[in-house]
């Protein structure tokens, strides 16, 4: 009898504290939600504007996004969001993510902007785990290396020169770090190849959004196998080069 009472009081006590805790967190969530969303959108927009300057387009970049199916050229295994910059209704540039799978310390996540004519608008690193002080020179805060992609295209420099200098190409490597820039250069080149191959789909206004969404299930199922394929093929590429 006594023990029943004790158990009930204890349980009620715990419930009371859980309720108060949840209510407090809920209250704060409610009051910060808008600001957090705003921050995330602003951060994304800033990043996009670094690639294609805000003065070059007049549409709402964040609204004009569409899904890209995973592609081995992009190194992606899941559908990703791409953004289309337009001026007076005409698409002028596409910004889409690309992943360099073979960084020194795992994948390097990039955002690549390509103008309508196939020249690079800009490249930025979103996420990486390269060595601080060596490989992290791909960040704009550490060096301007990554900005040198702007204005390059598939023909300029020619395909064989899309490599770091040590491999006989045009792009600088860093002192003490060749693998990182090599991976980035290769990934940007692949992204340009992807753009060239999918130009029509990327620049077209009425993109078949629905189709991509419908295919999503199949894509994700396939993506696991694709992932393995990408891994092995990039390995052989690396050893071959």
């Amino acid at each position: 009898m006594n023990i029943h009472k004790q158990v009930t009081t204890t349980a009620l006590l715990l419930m009371l504290f859980a309720t108060i805790g949840a209510a407090a967190v809920g209250f704060i969530y409610d009051h910060t939600y808008e600001t957090i969303k705003q921050n995330e959108r602003q951060a994304l927009l800033d990043q996009l504007n670094n690639i294609v300057p805000a003065s070059h387009y007049d549409n709402n970049l964040l609204e004009d996004s569409f899904k890209l199916a995973p592609d081995t050229l992009l190194g992606t295994t899941e559908p990703t969001a791409a953004y289309r910059a337009k001026k007076q209704g005409e698409p002028i540039a596409i910004i889409f993510p690309a992943i360099a799978p073979n960084g020194y310390n795992g994948s390097i996540h990039l955002l690549v902007g390509v103008y309508r004519d196939g020249t690079v608008a800009g490249v930025r690193v979103i996420r990486h785990r390269e060595t601080p002080g060596l490989g992290d020179a791909i960040e704009t805060s550490r060096s301007d290396w990554i900005t040198h992609f702007a204005g390059k295209s598939l023909g300029r420099p020619p395909g064989k020169q899309w490599k770091v200098k040590r491999d006989g190409g045009q792009f600088d490597q860093f002192t003490g770090a060749t693998i990182t820039p090599r991976a980035v250069v290769k990934s940007v080149h692949s992204a340009l190849l992807y753009f060239e191959a999918n130009k029509k789909m990327l620049l077209k206004d009425e993109v078949v959004d629905e189709d991509v969404k419908d295919d999503k299930d199949i894509d994700t199922k396939d993506s696991h196998e694709e992932q393995k394929d990408t891994g092995s093929s990039s390995d052989t590429d690396e050893s071959g080069s």
């Binding site: 009081t9 204890t10 006590l13 715990l14 504290f17 859980a18 805790g21 949840a22 407090a24 967190v25 704060i28 969530y29 910060t32 600001t35 957090i36 921050n39 995330e40 951060a43 060595t131 601080p132 002080g133 060596l134």
Partner: protein, 232 residues
């Protein structure tokens, strides 16, 4: 301020320092302290958590029951940390991007539960808040010291990225202490540098204490009775 509170202050900052003596919360400590500002950011977040959790635990200390006190403490700590995480996400977004994954980990920082259980649940509200503040301050000072040391040795700078915390006005805070062409010392920034740095700090603290106790012994040796009566 009575002697008890002075003991609390001394305990938190020195004698029972969370990072240097209790060696609690090392995971965020070692991971985050690559720069001064990162250390400061996590230090402040931990400090706030400690003060709030100690205060709340002390307030409710007569209402809990011993069987469920630990879950209740954890609930309180987790709610506070979640609230801090949301607040940082909203108002210090860029700093949040750097510290992000370590903020939820504050919940698992044993020092917070340890203070709730061993101090706040047995002491009045003001003393508990003071204990939380001093323990947090002790942790913060070590974070900042280690972060500063690693930043100076690793990058040759101090206060870089200060704008993440203090807004755009703090862009010029960055100091190049070792000159612009300092090549950097990589290991100080990498995780091993954190272990070595913390080891040196602990060694430094211990040697200061040994030096002090020697001095006390030397001074007190000839006139032992007088010294003892003075101390009491």
């Amino acid at each position: 301020m009575n002697t008890e509170q002075q003991t609390i202050i001394k305990n938190g900052l020195w004698t029972n320092n969370v990072a240097l003596v209790q060696l609690l919360g090392l995971c965020p400590l070692l991971a985050v302290t690559s720069t001064f500002i990162n250390g400061l950011g996590l230090g402040i977040a931990t400090l706030i958590t400690l003060v709030l959790s100690n205060t709340f635990v002390s307030i409710i200390r007569h209402w809990t029951r011993p069987e469920v006190r630990i879950p209740i403490f954890i609930l309180i700590i987790a709610s506070i940390v979640t609230a801090i995480e949301l607040a940082m996400n909203a108002w210090f977004y860029e700093l949040f991007l750097i510290l992000g994954i370590f903020i939820p980990l504050i919940v698992t920082n044993c020092s917070i539960l340890a203070r709730a259980e061993s101090f706040a649940s047995r002491n009045p509200v003001f003393d508990s808040a003071l204990d939380g503040f001093m323990m947090g301050m002790g942790f913060l000072l070590v974070l900042v010291l280690l972060g500063g040391l690693r930043e100076i040795i690793g990058h040759g700078t101090l206060f870089s990225n200060a704008h993440l915390m203090f807004g755009p006005a703090a862009n010029d805070f960055e100091l190049s202490l070792l000159g612009d062409d300092y090549p950097g010392f990589l290991i100080a920034i990498l995780p091993p540098g954190a272990f070595i740095g913390l080891g040196l700090l602990i060694a430094g603290k211990n040697s200061i204490e040994r030096y002090r106790s020697k001095k006390v012994v030397l001074v007190s040796a000839p006139s032992k009775p007088a010294e003892a009566s003075a101390a009491s």
